[in-house]
């Protein structure tokens, strides 16, 4: 019972902080919008994909991008929390690491989900979808977010110094994003890129969301969701183990 209380307590803390960090919340929404309106409009002037305007085509990819970045960096942020000793008092409390981990995962998912919902509503300018479509989209975002918050926490627990931020950004988050087909069609790329994109779990999140919102999925929706769910389960397992061992 107190374990559950601890999960809720950590979650609550994360939500309070999220509400207070207005600048972070605003920028986390503004930068995907710039991709959409500036990048999307620029490229969209000359390109059309699958019968859709380019802006509409990349819209699901941009929502997943925002989810990926918010989730991963939320997780990796514990490097900083440990640096300034915010976590120290939490870690000596008589609750398990797993409870703290799940509280953190829920906190990160809440951030990512709220942000994605705002983006999805803005998306009504380019894409039309049903309320059911919105619900399905939110489900995909949630699953993606669970996976990458857990992965971020797991990786963040590894690093002692702040250089971890940079490394993870350059060598993990950006490749995951660029390989995912968020910005291009997966069935028209060179063979090597096709292979790489298939081992990128983000590919399946993008594909699923594109399927739900535009009907343009390359893989069956059930396969997308199954792979995503399996990856999320693995990330939660690995992340909680790494978090448990964190010094």
């Amino acid at each position: 019972m107190s374990e559950l209380g601890a999960v809720v307590a950590v979650w609550r803390r994360e939500f309070i902080v999220f509400r207070r960090e207005v600048s972070r919340v605003v920028s986390s929404i503004v930068s995907p919008l710039m991709w959409l309106f500036l990048f999307g409009a620029g490229v969209g002037g000359t390109v059309e994909v699958g019968g859709e305007h380019y802006q509409a085509f990349i819209f699901p990819g941009i929502v997943i991008m925002a989810t990926l970045f918010t989730s991963m960096f939320y997780g990796v942020y514990i490097i900083w929390d440990r640096k300034i000793d915010v976590l120290k008092a939490v870690l000596v409390a008589p609750v398990s690491r797993v409870a703290i981990f799940f509280g953190k995962v829920l906190g990160g998912c809440t951030d990512a989900l709220l942000q994605a919902v705002v983006l999805l509503l803005v998306g009504l300018f380019f894409v039309s979808y049903t309320p059911l479509g919105l619900l399905a989209a939110a489900g995909i975002v949630l699953l993606t977010s669970i996976a990458f918050v857990a992965l971020g926490l797991g990786i963040g627990a590894f690093f002692e110094s702040l250089e971890g931020f940079q490394l993870i950004g350059t060598f993990v988050v950006f490749p995951l994003f660029f390989l995912s087909g968020a910005l291009y069609r997966l069935d028209q790329v060179p063979g090597w890129l096709r292979v790489l994109s298939r081992v990128d779990p983000v590919t399946y999140a993008v594909d699923a969301l594109r399927g739900v919102l535009l009907g343009l999925n390359v893989f069956p929706l059930s396969l997308d969701v199954a792979i995503l769910a399996a990856f999320a389960a693995l990330a939660v397992l690995g992340g909680s183990l790494s978090f448990g061992r964190m010094k």
């Binding site: 803390r13 902080v17 000793d85 008092a89 000596v92 409390a93």
Partner: protein, 326 residues
Amino acid sequence: MTAVIRTEKLTRDFGKTRAVDSLDLEVEAGEVFGLLGPNGAGKTTTVGMLTTTVRPTSGTAVVDGHSITKEPGLVRRSVGIVFQELSLDGMLTGRENLELSGQLYGVARAERRRRIAELLELVDLSARADSQVKTYSGGMKRRLELARGLLHRPRVLFMDEPTLGLDPQSREVIWQYIAAMAEAEGTTIVLTTHYMEEAERMCDRIAIIDRGRIIREGTPEALTTALGGDVVRVRAARIDEAALRALPFVSKLQLEPGGATIAMERASVNLPALLAALGPIDAIEVRRPTLNDVFLASTGRHIRDEAATGTWLDDAMRLVVQGDRR
């Protein structure tokens, strides 16, 4: 009296360094116990082991009836911790920090509310309770940490250097709060410090610790009285060691570069005789012994080897020594 903490050959190595070396100590319920020693003496590691965040290399301890090695979860419930580094959440308000801690320690909602109001009052933070902690001064943060440490009514509150980095006035204020809390709550307090005034002022009993070992243990009065009478420090070009040792009232003599520290009985009566034996001197200081003298007598070193060891004569001695090196 019953022991609320009892350690048995508690030992911790970091690589080849033995940070804590077969520590045996007992802390009685309700007392304020001090671990006094220089930086790196093993104080923080000892607290880490007693609060289950550091695993002992060998040996064990019992805290509030629970073994730190076998029942760490129960030990964690029994203790409160005030860390050396501030560990508050700056984004949260003072009240929210206490709320979070209360929830993590499983304090029921109604009790939590009541307790938080009571403790905020005790540390005089009620008026600022709903401001974010990042807007607090250093002293306010310390006070909030004290309140947080006590929130779940721990049997033992550990405070690791509770006034480190504070200016003298804030330190004085924190001492008053600690004393008030010890009185109001009756909690056993274990504090580590390298400030001897802090140990002298706050603690019922002290263990002086150096290089992971306890070198003296007892009440501050007993420790200083055991040195025998008063402490006289002189600065002189030449000290006649044999003449001084011949004096019946000199109980200890320690030669230092540029002078000597002498422990003697009844300085008020015997000082003229001492001066006669000393011959020409440049400066003299007579005072009651401090815990630093206890440490000095046992180790030949000062508790704080860095600058500012208290009296003006230390500064004078240091100048002489530096002058010699040039």
